[in-house]
């Protein structure tokens, strides 16, 4: 992997982020609705609305507003929510932690279930175990997330009383409690993810098992375990790695249902609230942060390709 390649990818990532910043800002201006309505309410006079626009800078030219916001972002200042008066950077810091931890846990659980199951099912293709795993994955794919969440809460919080039903404890307060509060939401997300990952990886492993070099490995007398782990799994992982990267970026801001059901103060709910109230400072900051995570994760995924398949690395 050359330094030039790395620099190119980082440059591309920064360009994407700049485009996201401009697009988000522009979208915020063309969306119908006005934050002044949400803040000042039904009976605001035109004078009060004008004063509000002046106070929040919304009456300045769009280019000036963008530049002021963008230079602030470069200094770590994402502005202030006109609705709550809270600094957006502070709010993002508070909300990024539960979202990141939730997605990390969910991805870890999903991969821990999907990878061994997919390899095993592919190896046992057509047998009862494979059919059972396929059926289970279809069931999980067809089950709505909210139904899984409500069921998990009922079983583990209400009936067994082993886990909290809702809420979040910050990591710096009590790491064990953080894990306990995130367990049910992470499992809710993970079940759906695991089903997708299982199907993608199983298909990849089946395809690889038909390759000549795998047949050659078998002919050399390697054990099934050696064939699967050393010769089959690694080349089959490429589509899965792509999917994991995409899902990671998506779930950082897209786990709104799970966040709301489990009362987690995450980025998804924060962004949704900002859209509903037209709180543009919050919306821009959240979208930019999510885009940043998206770009970073997918940069990491690109780099991982080269590790998983040296042919990709050498082709560059």
């Amino acid at each position: 992997m050359t330094a030039r390649y790395l620099l190119t990818r980082v440059g591309q990532a920064l360009l994407v982020l700049a485009c996201v910043a401009v697009t988000t800002f522009a979208l915020g201006r063309v969306l119908p609705g006005d934050l002044a309505t949400a803040v000042l309410g039904q009976s605001a006079t035109p004078e009060q609305i004008a004063e509000f626009h002046h106070k929040t800078g919304a009456d300045r030219p769009a280019v000036e507003q963008f530049w002021s916001w963008f230079t602030g972002v470069l200094h770590g200042d994402f502005g202030t929510s006109a609705l709550t008066g809270q600094r957006v950077s502070d709010a993002l810091a508070d909300r990024a932690a539960p979202s990141l931890l939730l997605v990390l846990l969910a991805e870890a659980f999903a991969l821990a279930v999907a990878v061994p199951l997919a390899v095993w099912a592919a190896y046992r293709q057509g047998r009862a175990a494979d059919k059972a795993a396929n059926g289970a994955s279809f069931l999980l794919l067809a089950t709505p997330q909210f139904a899984v969440a409500v069921l998990l809460i009922y079983v583990f919080a209400v009936r067994l009383g082993t886990l909290p039903a809702t809420g979040y404890v910050p990591l710096d307060e009590d790491p064990a409690q953080t894990f306990r509060t995130l367990l049910l939401p992470a499992v809710t997300l993970a079940l759906g993810l695991a089903a997708v990952y299982y199907r993608v990886l199983r298909a990849g492993v089946l395809d690889t098992l038909r390759q000549d070099y795998v047949l050659a490995a078998r002919a050399q007398g390697l054990t099934p375990r050696q064939v699967l782990v050393s010769h089959t799994l690694r080349p089959s992982l490429l589509p899965l790695v792509t999917l994991v990267g995409l899902n990671f970026g998506f779930l950082i801001g897209g786990a709104v249902i799970v966040e709301q059901l489990f009362a987690l103060p995450g980025l998804g709910t924060y962004a949704l609230g900002a859209v509903q109230t037209r709180d543009f400072a919050v919306l821009q900051g959240t979208v930019l942060l999510i885009a940043g995570v998206y770009v970073l994760v997918n940069l990491a995924v690109d780099l991982l390709y080269g590790v998983l398949d040296p042919r990709i690395r050498h082709a560059r």
Binding site: A91, V150, V158, T269
Partner: protein, 472 residues
């Protein structure tokens, strides 16, 4: 709490939700509370005496009370607060007359305030010195914090703000120097934002939270089945349908009356609310002397068809409603009931902000949603139904009512005001500018160890935190 927190400054324009109110009410005390019978209950004020034909009110304040920042609660604090309400004009929860009629606020002595009004207003103490307007902040803290007071509130209340995390929670801790300290039981209260009421009920069952609050009774049956204590709070105001009277069909009173007559409120209560609310045709509480015996036309589908036939043109309407709420089930029933008398409707499901924007821009036909003006007093009716009322969202005009509202303002006492108020309500009920459907109903659910407080006099989904305790 099924709401986010926005600000704890009661006179900020975005002070709106029951979360804001419950937290602010814990930190700040009002001059008076109002009990279930509408009588004043002394809090920071001990009494209010009217004179000069209800044009002057002398309010005696409690002595020896301090704000949690150590400064004294006195007449200067009350004057500063009410002067700010008048000057800023941003307090949406304050009666408009408070800004319009209060002409001077002076201190007779450090613990006596005199309010001079430009016209008689018999109900000034009940309306002006209670609720949101009555919550007194520390003027020192307010001056220091400026616009940030909503995140750093200071009052005389039983609690102090420990932390405010928009989107997640507000933490209040016991204020040991409060005048209420010896009757405050919780050491700490965390008001947690929990938007999904179903998982909130499950959280109470699991013991993750102690009490859940909802502004609608949609989870009452689930909570009862789970063995929880459930308290249904019927409010003074109705929930109902607002109408844009500039739209074809809705500009004709026969159509509006027909729409009201087509609604089977009993069925809506039974099906959409599991029987947990109360059907109503009244704008105020049914037993209110001003309201008794008056209401918009009740269920009579035959008469509705007759009125629509007299109108003679097809009526097609859009009916807006709020996503994820009891309103949707009720709206679907209303759609069927209107169809049964020949009115075609399409339902538009929207967010709360989307609904408000449509309504404010007059970009709607009808809306069964929180946009319905909560009419708890005749003063609130003026805001909603006088032709220049700031919340007259449907364009309703009745010149006789405009004159009557003026006469009502000049009435020297309650006895003189009563017939005027009843005439206004009769006119409004005949004109049907909006349609009350059910009484606004909220609920609290808690496990057996919790003492459930009574709801606040003003909201079906808020309570006073000093009334809350756990049995150990």
């Amino acid at each position: 709490m099924p709401f986010d927190v926005q600000t704890l400054d009661p006179i900020a324009p975005n002070f709106a939700s029951s979360m804001d109110y419950t937290a602010a009410r814990g930190v700040m005390d009002p001059l008076f509370d109002v009990d279930a019978q509408g009588a004043l209950v002394p809090q920071l004020a001990l009494g209010a005496v009217a004179s000069d034909g209800n044009r002057t009110f002398t309010v005696q304040l409690r002595d020896g009370v301090k704000f949690s920042d150590g400064t004294d609660f006195d007449a200067a604090a009350v004057i500063a607060h009410y002067q700010e309400i008048k000057d800023k004009k941003t307090c949406l929860g304050c009666a408009p007359r408070l800004v319009g009629l209060v002409s001077a606020i002076t201190a007779k002595d450090p613990h006596t305030v005199v309010f001079a009004l430009s016209a008689p207003w018999a109900e000034f103490p009940e309306v002006g010195l209670t609720g949101i307007a009555g919550l007194i902040p520390s003027p020192t803290a307010k001056k220091a914090a400026g616009d940030a007071f909503g995140r750093n509130p200071v009052g005389t209340g039983a609690f102090k703000l420990a932390e405010i995390a928009p989107g997640d929670h507000v933490t209040l801790v016991r204020n040991e120097t409060s005048w209420l300290a010896d009757r405050t039981y919780p050491d700490k209260v965390v008001l947690k934002v929990m938007l999904d009421t179903q998982t909130a009920v499950q959280s109470v069952q699991a013991g993750t939270i102690d009490v859940m609050v909802s502004s609608q009774p949609n989870q009452a049956q689930q909570a009862k089945s789970a063995g929880l204590q459930v308290q249904l709070n019927r409010g003074l105001a109705p929930d109902g349908i607002i109408m844009n009277l500039n739209r074809p069909g809705l500009d004709d009173v026969r159509v509006r009356r027909a729409l009201s007559m087509a609604i089977d409120r009993q069925a809506i209560n039974k099906v959409a609310y599991n029987g947990d609310t109360q059907p109503t045709t009244a704008f105020l509480a049914e037993d209110d002397p001003e309201q008794q015996g008056i209401g918009v036309p009740g269920y009579d589908p035959d008469k509705a068809r007759q009125l629509l036939a007299e109108y003679g043109k097809p009526v097609r309407l859009e009916l807006n409603t709020l996503q994820g709420s009891n309103y949707i089930a009720a709206t679907q029933l209303i759609q069927q009931q209107w169809k049964a008398v020949g009115v075609e409707t399409t339902i538009k499901v929207n967010t709360a902000v989307g609904i408000m924007q449509d309504v404010l821009q007059r970009n709607y036909d009808t809306s069964f949603s929180p946009a319905f003006m909560a009419t708890t007093t005749v003063d609130a009716l003026e805001v909603a139904f006088s032709s220049t009322g700031r919340l007259n969202l449907g364009g309703y005009v009745n010149k006789q009512n405009d004159e009557l509202f003026g006469q009502l303002g000049a009435a020297t006492d309650s006895a003189a005001a009563l017939p005027i108020a009843r005439q206004i309500l009769t006119n409004v009920s005949n004109d049907v500018p909006s349609i009350p459907v059910v009484r606004k109903t909220g609920m609290f659910a808690a496990s057996a160890k919790v003492h459930l407080p009574a709801p606040d006099g003003y909201r079906v989904d808020a309570f006073t935190l000093t009334d809350l305790w756990l049995t150990r």
